[in-house]
Subunit: 152 residues, 2 copies
Amino acid sequence: MDEVPGSLGTSASFALRLGQTVFSSASLLFMSMGVQFYSYTSFCFLVTIMGLVVPWSFTLALVDGYSVLVKCPIRQQGILLVIVAGDWVLSILTLAAACSTTSVVDMLLRVDGSHCPPKFCSRYVISAVMAFLSWFLSAASSLFNLWLLPSL
Amino acid sequence: MDEVPGSLGTSASFALRLGQTVFSSASLLFMSMGVQFYSYTSFCFLVTIMGLVVPWSFTLALVDGYSVLVKCPIRQQGILLVIVAGDWVLSILTLAAACSTTSVVDMLLRVDGSHCPPKFCSRYVISAVMAFLSWFLSAASSLFNLWLLPSL
């Protein structure tokens, strides 16, 4: 069986998962430290989704790290299917949350400057950028695992 | 070779493309008829993306309709790859535009009621719903064609 770089149990996958964990945690922290996040639906949505992505990515990072260490990657179709489906759903939700946050930040900056003190606004922007990076890595993981799926 | 229902050149694919064309046209029309759409970045983004999705879906609907009529589906890997990639990019952009629009509409309704007269706001909401439906069909088309790709 071919080894797909970036699929479950490889060191590239470990790097992707670690990146997802870091970016989604950063997004969550930057948004949570802005005290006004609960007044906008999009920001609450982002916090909720990032709260789901962080444990999911962290768990899979642990699984990948273990697989790399013992040199025995998991190759069961059922498990892989669950992981691909989970990645898929979470990456769609992450993209949705990132876009919503970006559009709300854009609107706060443009339409009504008084709603957005610079101290909070830069945090919102950083949070949105981190969410986009997290989405990008999550979509990459999902595609690599989807590619591996038919060969099992 | 197996026939994948919903893949290029089948009647299910024709129905999907027709649905995409109808929903994205409806989204575009409802947003364009609201005269204030150019004052918000997200709404301009939605109009731009829908302006790309309408001709793309319409062209592929014509191709599918022709394939169904002459009973000779296109089965060339290069063409299918371009269609899958195009569907993929457009469905991601459609989702992004739909989410942005939804969050801006939500914000207009919540934070500042005066910015959003009911006549326009209901149009924005309908436009966002249509964009979500268009995204759903577009993602389905993309997945079906992706499923067909390895068998060529």
